[in-house]
């Protein structure tokens, strides 16, 4: 039991469960998942489905944060990817042609990758601080998305495209399947292959990593590219879900939610150790919170107060220092402050 309690993900899970339970009080059948027209249908499924873009963006963000970076541009990449795909599709003669949709999706993702490489080059090649490097794309990228859509909402009417964010496959929402695949892929790259180790070491101590023969530059570019790719996929999902691209609003503020999800999941913004499972939980917590707000009818004026309350409770519960101070446990688990990191200045 204590081992269970001490598990890294115990508190995030507990919080998620508590939030879900809260819903149960307000909504009967909250946990019921039914089959409807051969689709799984229910609030739980909805949470994952609506959370899917956030989970994707957070996964990419996790890796970036693990290198002690940050990517503010994901929201803009979300908008750009959706805008470009919808623009291409709306230009098709037959919007339902699978080839045309695939080409559009491919182009959108290719552009996302290019944007990620751009971020990576600014950070790793030129050595600009990540927050500023990605702020550039955050600002300009939103403009680019609007340029693509001409500031309007580009509506498409394409059932293959609709599948990505709003369709079903094998009874499951297709977006959930995409998330599962990307998650599995990320886990494979980082945990099965050695990418994770290199990322954690670059985030933990960049200079030491360089002196161990790690190409920090390569790792950073990979990570920013991956993050932008995830954001691109999320962008397709969001626009496909409503069959339209909104260059102005798609992905607005998603970077904040994504960073929050990563941090709730237990990854430190100072870089180093990261937890993919934690991030997924974090994103689910945020999405559940949103759903809870809708379903228990918190009025919009108090939504933010409610959020503040929940976020505070979440981070307090997760803090070992808080639990120990409040629950009066005798022994302090040592180490003056585990959060503090040594900073190594790269003197090259």
């Amino acid at each position: 039991m204590t081992r269970f309690l001490r598990h890294r993900l115990f508190w995030p899970v507990a919080i998620l469960v508590a939030l879900l339970a809260l819903n149960l009080v307000f909504t009967d059948n909250f946990f019921r998942v039914q089959m409807k027209d051969g689709h799984l249908y229910g609030s739980l499924i909805d949470i994952v489905r609506f959370g899917a873009p956030l989970i994707l963006v957070s996964l990419g963000m996790t890796l970036v944060i693990a290198t002690s970076g940050i990517d503010l541009s994901v929201g803009s990449v979300v908008a750009i990817a959706g805008a470009l795909a919808c623009l291409r599709i709306s230009d098709l003669d037959d919007q339902n042609s699978i080839g045309g949709v695939l080409a559009a999706v491919g182009i959108a993702l290719a552009l996302s990758v290019a944007l990620g490489v751009w971020n990576g080059l600014l950070v790793a090649g030129i050595g600009i601080q990540p927050i500023i490097a990605t702020l550039i794309l955050m600002v300009a990228g939103r403009g680019l998305a609007q340029l693509i859509t001409d500031g309007q909402i580009t509506t498409v009417n394409s059932s293959p495209y609709k599948l990505i964010g709003g369709g079903y496959w094998l009874t499951l929402p297709f977006s959930i399947i995409i998330v599962a695949v990307v998650l599995a892929l990320t886990a494979f790259l980082t945990r099965r292959l050695a990418l994770g180790l290199l990322i954690e070491s670059v985030g933990g101590n960049a200079e030491a990593s360089r002196l161990s023969g790690i190409s920090a530059r390569g790792v950073l570019i990979t990570v920013y590219t991956f993050c932008a790719l995830c954001a691109g996929i999320a962008g397709l999902m969001i626009s496909s879900n409503v069959s339209s691209a909104d260059g102005n609003n798609a992905g607005l503020w998603i970077e904040l939610d994504a960073i929050l999800a990563v941090v709730i999941g237990g990854t430190s913004l100072a870089g180093g150790r990261f937890s993919l499972g934690g991030t997924v939980l974090g994103a689910l917590i945020i999405q559940t919170l949103t759903t809870t707000i809708y379903s228990i009818g918190v009025p919009p004026e108090t939504t933010l107060l409610f959020k503040a309350l929940v976020v505070t409770i979440v981070c307090l519960l997760q803090s070992p220092a808080f639990r120990e101070k409040v629950f009066h446990r005798r022994r302090r688990p040592q180490s003056p402050s585990p959060v503090t990191e040594e900073k190594v200045r790269v003197s090259a």
Binding site: L193, L211, R331
Partner: protein, 503 residues
């Protein structure tokens, strides 16, 4: 024994870390006007005892009395205010601040709350000159080598008006001259009645300076002895719990066998760091570098590893001219570099022992070719036991290891790479007697197997014992290259360093 009342008494101290009992029922006392050595192997609990005393960690059991009053410090600040000044094991200064600030921060000279920078700089220069250091005190600390940082930390600690001075391995990268300076200061303080707690793995230093010693083993107290009444051999026996047999076995070093030249430099240099130098390292050869603080030894190592870019000159490996642009390309050519600054340039504190050990090997293979877990475990296991890393738990976070054990982990990282040229910059920093002998034996063995080694150490005996050839540096210039034959002694080395003459 009509000793004066102890100024500090710790009794029944216990400290438990998850999975490790670092201290168990330890008693300790410190008399005014004495230098008291705290002895023990790596991981024996010395630093933990100091941290428990100064409020870095809470204690689990036992009590502390300072001048007869029970105390429990909640932070190092509280300990400092009560008159305990401490130099912790790793250099714990703020490298982003200037040298002067590092000496004075928290007690800057002020008038009406306004910091007097000029006065602070002047006083910092004074204090440093008393330690024979002439630094630009307004330069950031990070521009100085680790050894100098260590001196600055000492300067800070001895300047604080204290009743108790604690020095946890302050001399680990200092050379003989600096150590002598430090001891002069310590003797002066001792005469003023200040109690000094001193930790070092250099037995000679212990015998030179300390009056009394307390020995720990595995977190338990072995006993307290007068230094004059305990021989070195007895001391080592009590520390490790058995006799140490092969401490001095490496005495005579076989002359270098004729290996092919592996690395040749031709007037390789970097402005502001090291004058152009020409040096050849053969296969199977151990080349030692000797010199004073900041003489440029580390700079040579960094150039050979591609950690810094050479401004001038050429480098040849296996007779072919190459330019090492990054450490990565050096590693690809099987050159390894074990940095002196393990905290800033070596370890990733948040990763485990296993991950830290395999890091360089994994980096060399690239991330797409992970080392199979079984192979990792084998390698790690092998070096944990070969270097006696404790606790012998590959999944322990490196940040939780004692300083000496961290150093061993760093060594292991490079050893598993089986390099052709191994550059060791102060590899035995903070390593206990037993392990040091072990590492020296390992170096000798590897070079016999054909590996070239560039060995840098502040301890001239060690350099002499291992190397076939010694390069002498002075003022960032390679001034001499001496073969290690009968005629070469530490005295001659010191002389060469001092005179800067070419032999």
């Amino acid at each position: 024994m009509a000793a004066p009342a102890p100024i500090l008494r710790m009794s029944g101290i216990g400290k438990q870390f998850p999975g490790v009992k670092a201290l168990d029922d330890v008693d300790f006392r410190l008399l005014p006007g004495e230098v008291h050595a705290l002895m023990g192997e790596n991981g024996a609990g010395k630093s933990t005892l100091i941290k428990v005393l100064t409020g870095v960690y809470d204690i689990d059991a036992g009590e502390i009395e300072l001048e007869g009053r029970r105390v429990a410090f909640s932070s190092p600040l509280a300990a400092q205010q009560a008159g305990i000044s401490t130099v912790y094991q790793e250099v714990n200064l703020c490298a982003n601040l200037s040298v002067a600030e590092n000496i004075f921060i928290g007690r800057e000279p002020r008038r009406l709350g306004r910091i007097q920078w000029k006065k602070m700089r002047r006083r910092a220069e004074e204090i440093l000159s008393r330690l024979d250091l002439d630094l630009d005190v307004s330069a950031p600390l990070s521009s100085y080598s680790l050894a100098i940082q260590q001196m600055v930390a000492i300067a800070r600690a001895v300047d604080i008006d204290a009743k108790v001075l604690i020095l946890d391995e302050p001399t680990s990268s200092l050379d003989a001259g600096e150590v002598a300076q430090l001891f002069r200061v310590m003797r002066r303080l001792k005469e003023q009645g200040i109690a000094i707690l001193f930790v070092s793995h250099f037995l000679d230093q212990i015998y030179e300076i300390s009056d009394r010693m307390t020995i720990l083993r595995n977190g338990t107290l072995v006993g307290e002895y007068l230094t004059s009444e305990l021989s070195q051999v007895e001391l080592v026996g009590k520390m490790i719990g058995r006799e140490l047999a092969d401490l001095e076995k490496l005495e005579d070093r076989p002359p270098a066998r004729e290996g092919a030249p592996l690395v040749e430099t031709e007037l390789l240099g970097r402005t502001g760091a090291i004058e152009p130098f020409t040096l050849t390292i053969h296969e199977g050869e151990v080349v030692g570098l000797a010199g004073l603080l900041g003489s440029g030894r580390t700079e040579i190592a960094r150039l050979l590893f591609g950690a810094d870019h050479a401004g001038t000159g050429a480098l040849k490996i296996d007779g072919q001219a190459v330019s090492l642009r990054t450490p990565r390309s050096a590693v690809a050519r099987k050159i390894a570099f074990c940095s002196e600054n393990r905290r800033a340039e070596g370890l990733i504190p948040d990763l485990t022992v296993r991950e830290n050990i395999i890091l360089a090997l994994q980096a060399a293979r690239g991330w797409t070719r992970p080392i199979p877990r079984r192979r990792q475990d084998e390698l790690v296991e092998k070096y944990i036991s070969a270097l006696n890393i404790r606790p012998a738990n590959p999944e322990q976070l490196v940040r939780n290891l004692s300083g000496g054990n961290q150093q061993k982990v760093l060594l292991a990282r490079w050893l598993i790479l089986e390099p052709r040229l191994l550059i060791l910059d102060e590899p035995t920093r903070g390593i206990d007697v037993g392990a040091k002998a072990e590492i020296q034996r390992l170096v000798a063995e590897l070079s016999d197997g054909g590996m070239a080694v560039l060995f840098i150490s502040a301890e001239l005996e060690e350099v002499l014992r291992l190397s076939h050839k010694v390069g002498v540096l002075r003022d960032r210039r390679l001034v001499a290259e001496l073969d290690n034959d009968e005629g070469l002694t530490t005295d001659r080395l010191t002389e060469t360093i001092a005179s800067g003459a070419i032999s």
